[in-house]
């Protein structure tokens, strides 16, 4: 009896009532940061366990796409590169953010379904699950970044100071995928057929985004509208960081891309939060 009295003071008091989770959601998100790390670590270690191909895959896929795109857009379509940069580098500088984006989007939008067993049995802020998948996509990104370094050495291409700003564009890519990813994964919980949309978006996006060509080939009067695709801003940013001054960023378009990313992020988070309460009931 006496020993329990001493523990009273620091005991947390939890109140459960309708609508209550709203209030301490963000605090909870912080409290569960260790779970975020563990889930991300689980995804990575399962992905690379027992599979040499797992790591190779992250290298082979963007590399082959780069080769094909260089052949088609540079040799056959005869599209110009940005300044003096070799065309392969131009393509690869765009392949990096594009595969980061598409991996993050595909994995985050399937994440809730593949973790359904956790959602029905344990409490934690559900936002952790799709957020943790970004780490896996980022790991793949780091691996394919090694190819870029190899290519830079091969072409004897010097990096400028702009490379220091690359982390900003990496974060921008991740946020660009997180917004739609959150929305899709939440809808996926109830309507499983929504997952078929993502591969389509990814495949389609590869051709409408300036991955195989420079965004400078787009006629001036269309460039702002072209930037409604947020990946245009991201890819321009990556090229500017990696290839240097020759690939300039079209500022109004870039701002528009940023705004679109922010809008989708807001939309994704609010929709996710709204549907989150019913996840456990419909899983």
């Amino acid at each position: 009896m006496t020993n329990s009295a001493s523990t009273h003071t620091q005991e947390p008091v939890l109140i459960i009532e309708p609508g209550r989770t709203e209030k301490n959601y963000w605090a909870d998100l912080w409290r569960y940061r260790e779970l975020f790390i563990i889930l991300a670590w689980r995804d990575i270690s399962v992905r690379y366990k027992q599979t040499i191909i797992g790591i190779l895959w992250a290298i082979i896929r963007p590399f082959l796409t780069m080769v094909v795109f260089t052949v088609i857009f540079s040799y056959i379509a005869k599209l110009p590169s940005d300044g003096s940069a070799p065309y392969t580098l131009l393509v690869f500088a765009a392949m990096l953010p594009w595969s980061l984006f598409s991996n993050a989007l595909s994995e985050s939008s399937n994440s809730l379904i593949s973790n359904a067993n956790l959602i029905g049995k344990v409490y934690f802020p559900r936002l952790i699950i799709p957020a943790a998948t970004l780490v896996t996509a980022f790991t793949d990104f780091l691996i394919s970044f090694i190819i870029l370094i190899g290519m830079m050495l091969y072409y004897q291409f010097a990096l400028g100071w702009q490379i220091l700003l690359l982390p900003f564009f990496i974060i921008m890519t991740l946020l660009a995928s997180l917004g739609p990813g959150l929305w899709m994964t939440a809808i996926n919980v109830k309507y499983r057929d929504f997952r078929y949309i993502i591969p389509f978006v990814v495949q389609f996006g590869l051709y409408v985004s300036p991955v195989g060509f420079s965004s400078k080939v787009i006629p001036e009067q269309w460039r702002l509208i072209y930037n409604l695709n947020p990946m245009v801003g991201v890819i321009d940013g990556f090229r500017w960081c990696i290839l240097g001054g020759d690939s300039s960023i079209y500022v109004p378009g870039f701002m528009l891309s940023l705004a679109i990313i922010a809008f989708f992020l807001y939309l994704g988070i609010t929709r996710f939060r709204k549907m989150e309460k019913t996840f456990a009931d419909i899983m």
Partner: protein, 421 residues
């Protein structure tokens, strides 16, 4: 200060279920198209707004849990029993914050560890060691905490040799042991456990029960335990809450609630195979005057007696009710003639309602004896017409339930210390 660690007030959980109405009669293709277009539009709107879409034309509300209230004191081990679909899992899910209640509120003091499934999140490709960290984090442990308990967990699970083997190669017994071991070492004031012992061999179950008992008794942990295994509930829990159709239908000492759950001692169940209790008495039931589904200390009790005199006409009808304790000793006698009541010319079927004003019966089981008579004496006597239960409540307001050993009647008292000079 009372030591209530879980306080549930009118908890309810509502689900919406859609039904397709049967459309009778003839409908033009045009009507069908218009209707489908309209529902499609509404659904798209719902989808865009993040509202759940419910298939069907009429929507029905189903309450998986309704008006569930209880207080749980520190160190209590509570069993929650009930049929499938009675709302046990929903209740645990609300208390573990997996799903939100639709109504009501629960206040929980202290850290909650809930174990609704053994091995939640275990990944078959990962090793035993890795899964301990993964599962621990999922259950809410910090890395430091897992590090500290690691050896203890491994020893409990008896998997030392296979720590670095992927768990997909484990036998199901080893898998269960490891999973339970992680959960059993959670540091929390409250442990919520759902039907997890249904799996695993008998020896392992015993070990887990022992671990939970140790938690409940030794460290003054509060344990909430759902199980169909009544022996386990008996062993572990001092108190049981019985849920029926989402409502708390009984809450009290384990022996009493468990027995009533099995139907051995339920109210109204003394009916003989002829469909009546005796020659004239059809049925006897006990109700709470306040409309509750169960009786607590100090409640006014309504005894309802269904009588059928058939073609007999009774003059100077008198009825006597005896309340005996479980051992058969008389506690109270209620006689209609004490209240100067008698009825003339009674025949056919009727119901007699007798309200007994607030007898402060202590929690436990009581038996009713009913006697019916007239001016010439009793002509129908039923010895054990009904067994009913008084559910324990915090009668004295001390934050503790009255002990069963304190007699059959409870009374509040005032105390005064006078110097005797």
């Amino acid at each position: 200060m009372s030591d209530i660690v879980i306080k549930a007030e009118n908890l309810g959980k509502k689900y919406l279920i859609g039904h397709h109405a049967e459309r009778g009669g003839y409908m033009a293709l045009r009507d069908v198209l218009v209707q489908n277009a309209r529902t499609l539009w509404n659904k798209t709107k719902d989808l865009a707004n993040g509202r759940p879409i419910i298939q069907g034309d009429t929507i029905e509300e189903v309450w998986a849990l309704k008006d569930v209230s209880f207080d749980i004191l520190r160190g209590e081990a509570i069993g929650i029993i009930g049929r499938n679909g009675a709302g046990k899992s929903t209740l645990l899910k609300i208390l573990s914050r997996i799903t939100e209640p639709s109504t009501g509120r629960a206040t929980i003091k202290g850290r909650v560890a809930s174990l609704l499934e053994v091995g939640t999140g275990f990944h078959p490709e990962l090793t035993g060691r890795e899964n301990i960290y993964l599962n621990g984090a999922i259950l809410g442990m910090t890395r430091a905490e897992i590090n500290r308990k690691f050896d203890e967990i491994v020893a409990f699970a008896e998997v030392e040799k296979y720590l670095d083997t992927p768990v997909k190669k484990y036998s199901s017994g080893m898998y269960m042991r490891l999973a339970f071991a992680v959960a059993a070492h959670l540091e929390s004031e409250i442990l919520i456990v759902d039907e997890v012992l249904a799996v695993g061999d008998a020896e392992f179950q015993k070990k887990c029960l022992g671990k939970m008992q140790e938690a409940a008794v030794g460290r003054r942990k509060t344990v909430l335990f759902v199980s169909h295994d009544m022996a386990a509930v008996h062993n572990l829990c001092g108190r049981v809450i019985l849920l029926e159709n989402g409502l708390v239908s009984n809450d009290g000492y384990t022996d009493i609630v468990v027995e009533s759950y099995f139907g051995k001692l339920t109210q109204q169940n003394a009916v003989s195979q002829y469909g009546r209790l005796s020659k004239y008495i059809l049925l006897v039931s006990v109700l709470s005057a306040s409309g509750k589904k169960y009786l607590t200390i100090g409640d006014s009790i309504i005894v309802k007696i269904n009588i059928d005199f058939a073609d007999r006409v009774v003059d100077r009808l008198k009825i006597g009710i005896g309340i005996n304790n479980a051992a058969g000793g008389r506690i109270l006698t209620i006689l209609s003639w004490n209240e100067r009541q008698s009825w003339d010319g009674v025949s056919g079927r009727f119901e007699m309602y007798v309200t007994i004003d607030s007898p402060r019966l202590a929690p436990g089981l009581f038996k009713l004896k009913i006697a019916i008579g007239d001016a010439f004496g009793d002509f129908d006597i039923v010895e054990n017409a009904l067994v009913f239960q008084i559910v324990p409540t915090d009668f004295f307001g001390t934050g503790k339930l009255p002990d069963v050993t304190q007699g059959v009647i409870l009374a509040r008292s005032t105390w005064l210390l006078k110097d005797s000079k």
